[in-house]
Amino acid sequence: MAPTVALAGNPNAGKTTLFNELTGSRQHVGNYPGVTVEKKEGTYVRDGFRLHIVDLPGTYSLTAYSLEEVVARDFLVNQKPEVVINIVDASNLERNLYLAVQFLEMGIPICIALNMIDVAKKRGIKVNDAKLSALLGVPVIPTIARSGQGKKELMDSAFEIINHNKQLNPLKISYGADIDPVLAEMEKEIADNHFLTDTYKARWIALKYIENDEQIRSLGRQTDADLSGRLEEQVRKVSRHLQNTLDTYPEAVIADQRYGYINSILKQGVIYHKYDRNRLYSSDRIDKVLTNRFLGPLIMLAVIAGLYHFTFTYSKLPVEWLESFFGWLGSTLTAVLPEGLLQSLIVSGIIDGVGGVLGFVPLIMFMFFGIAILEDSGYLARVAFMLDRIFRIFGLHGSSVMAFIVSGGIAGGCAVPGVMATRTLKSPRERLATLLTVPFMNCGAKLPVFALLIATFFARYEALIMFLITLGAWAGALLVAKLLRVTVIRGSATPFVMELPPYRMPTFKGLAIHTWERTWQYIKKAGTVILGLSIVLWAMMTFPGLPESTLAEFEKQRQLEISRVPPAIASELKSAGDKTELSVPAYHLKQSLRRINAAEAEAGLRYSIAGRIGGALETVSQWAGFDWRTNIALVGGFAAKEVVVSTLGTAYSLGEVDPEQAGSLSATLARDPGWSPLLAIGLIVFTMFYSPCFVSVICITRESGSWKWGAFAMAFNTLLAFILAVIIFQVGSALEIMVN
C-alpha cells in the first residue's frame, strides 16, 4: 500500500488549495465513519511513486472539543500516517504554530509547509525558514500553494521522512513550576502501569488529563477506572491550587506556555516585521465598506439577491433542457412500450421520479458555485459576522442565513440545496437547527399551490397574501428553530470566536472542484434512494387497480357515447392528431370521452392505497376541513410539492392538470361548496409547514447523519402544520370568518 501523507493546518491556511494542487483530479470525497465531516483523499504520483494524501479537517488545535478536532486526532492516532504536512500561514505565523507545537508534543513526524510567503512578503513579513527549521527540529519548506511554488521541495522532504522512517522525539515544553512536577509524576505512573501507552505516549496522556480532555479521560476510565480516578484527583489538586493562587485554569497555563514557547522561538531572529503588525491592508479597506454599519447590510442584501438571481435564473435553461429531455424520454417510451403496468411503472414511476431529482442538478450546481465564490473569497464569514446578532436570538448562527435564503427565504428557492448549504456552518447544534427549519421556506414547488389557492379565493390581494406567506415562513422557521434549541437540540451556543480571513480571489480550479464534488455526492446518494421511493409512491397511487366490473362499466359508458354519434364522427376523432381541427360533433365526443376518462382516473385514485389512506385520514383531517381529495393531494405532495396541484386535478376528475395552467381547477374549487377562503388559508399554512418533500428528507438524513432527524422532520413538521391548520379552521368556523 502507498504511504499515507496527512495534510493538517488551520482553516484558511491554504490546505485545500495545496491538496488540489497535489492530487489534481485524482481525488474523492467521502465522510469519516459515522460523522458528517468530509474526508478528502487523493493520490500524488511522481516518478511512478504514489502517495496516498488525506486532507484532514482544518483545526486550530488538537483538543477534542469540536468534531473536526476529534476526527483529525483519531486519524493521526489510529491510521498513523507516515508523515503529516502541516500547512502554516506565513503571514500569520505565531497563531498557526500553535497547532504545529501540538503535533510536536504528540511526537508525530511533521514537515512544515510555510505557505503564502508571497502574502507575507507583501505585508513586510520576512521569515527565516532555515532558522525556524533548526529551532523546531523539523523541515520547513516555503510554498505558495496557489501557484504550486515549492511543491516539489515539499514533497522531496516528505519522501525523505518516509524513506528514512525518521522517528521524532516528542517536544517537551516546560509548563511552569505548578504543572511540571505533577506532569512528571503522572507520566511516571502512566508509564509504569502501561496505561493506554500502546496508542499514546505517556507524557502526552498526562498532558491531556491535565488539559481536561474528555475523550482521553473516558478512554482511560474504560481501561483502568482506578488509575484514571487517581490521575483525575491529581489534576483536581493542581487545579484547586492554580485557582487559589493565580485564579486560572491548568489548560490556560498550558496554552500560555505553548504561546510562550512559540514566542521564544520567533524572537531568535526567525521573523522580521517591516511594518506595524496591525496596520491596515487592502483587505481591511474593503471591509471598512463591506461591513460598514449602513452600507454593509445594503451590500449584503444586494449580494444575496444576486446569488439568488444567479442560481435560479441561470439554472432555468439547463433545468428546462433536462425536463424536456425526460419529457421526451417519457413520451418516446410511452409510444414504444405497450400500454399497461410496465409502461406506467417506467414512465410515471421511474422517469418522473428520477427525472424530478436529476432536474435539481443544474440548480444545485449553480447554487454551490455561487456559494463557493462567497465562501472562498471570505465574504461568507462577513455575512455571519453581520447577521449573528439577529440569528443568535433564535439559537442559530450568523452563517445560517445562506441556507434560509437558498431554501426560499425569498419565495421560489429550493430546500434541497438549502439543506446542503448548511455545510458551511461549523457549529453542530446551530447547523442541525438550521437544516431542520429551512424546509419551512417557500420553495418554488410550493408556489403553484399558493398561486392556485390565491387566484381562486383572494385574487384581489395577490401581492399582499404572497408577502404575508413569505413573512409567515420566516417567522415559523425562526420560532421553530428557537423551540428546537430549547428542547431537542438543547445546549449552549457554540462559541462564535472565529477568524475573518483576508479577502482572496477564488481560483477557478478550486471553485470547479468544490462545485463538482458536492453536486456529484447529491446525484449519487439522492439518486439511488429516490429511485426506490418513486416506485413506492407510484405503486401506492396505482394499486390496487379498479375491479374488472368497474373498468367494464367505464368502457361501456365510452362505447355508449361513441354509439350515439354517426360512425364518421367517431372515426374522425380516432384518426385526428393532437392539433387537428375537429368538427363540432367530434369535439363534443372528445369532451365527453375525456370526462369519462377523468372520472375513471378519479375512481382509480380513490380506490388505490393512496386513496384509501386519504379516505382513512378524513376522520382526522376533517378537523382542518380537508376531505379525501385534499389528503391524497398532500400525500402526493410528499413526492414533490407541485404534485399537490396535479393530484387535486385528478381527484376532482379534471384529468391531468398542468400546475402552471390550473384555471379549470380553480373554477371547480370556487364552485365547490366544500371550499371556502378559510379552508384555503388552512391549506396554504399546511402546505408551508408540513413534511419536507422526500428529496429534502433524504438530504436532511444525509446531512444530519441519522435517519432519526429525517423521520423527525416528517413527523414534527406534519404535526405542527396540522395543528396550525386545525386552529385556523376551527377558530375561523366558530367566528364565521371567511366561511363562504
Binding site: 488545535s61 490556560a252 459576522f385 449573528d388 470566536v497 472565529m498 475573518l500
Partner: protein, 76 residues
C-alpha cells in the same frame, strides 16, 4: 487601566491581562491566540454592535460581546 473587553472603544488598543473562562469557550479563545500578553486592537463592530472584530497578531478575529466579557484588557 484594566477594563473589560466589551467596554473597549473602536480603534482602542491594549494588552490582554486575563482570560477568565474554562471549558469550550476558554479553549476556543486561547486557540485563536487570545492569551494574556497578546496585543489587541478593536477594529470594528457588526452593524448591531455585536459581535466585535479585533486585530490580533496581524489577523482579524471576531467574538460576541458576551464572550468578550471574560477577557480583561490593560489599555493604554
Amino acid at each position: 487601566m484594566r477594563i473589560n473587553m466589551r467596554k473597549m472603544l473602536d480603534n482602542q488598543s491594549g494588552t490582554i491581562a486575563s482570560v477568565k473562562v474554562g471549558g469550550e469557550l476558554g479553549r476556543r479563545i486561547r486557540d485563536m491566540g487570545l492569551v494574556p500578553g497578546t496585543e489587541v486592537k478593536v477594529w470594528g463592530r457588526a452593524p448591531l454592535y455585536d459581535p466585535v472584530a479585533l486585530r490580533v497578531m496581524g489577523a482579524t478575529l471576531t467574538l460576541r460581546n458576551n464572550e468578550a466579557d471574560y477577557i480583561e484588557v490593560e489599555v493604554d
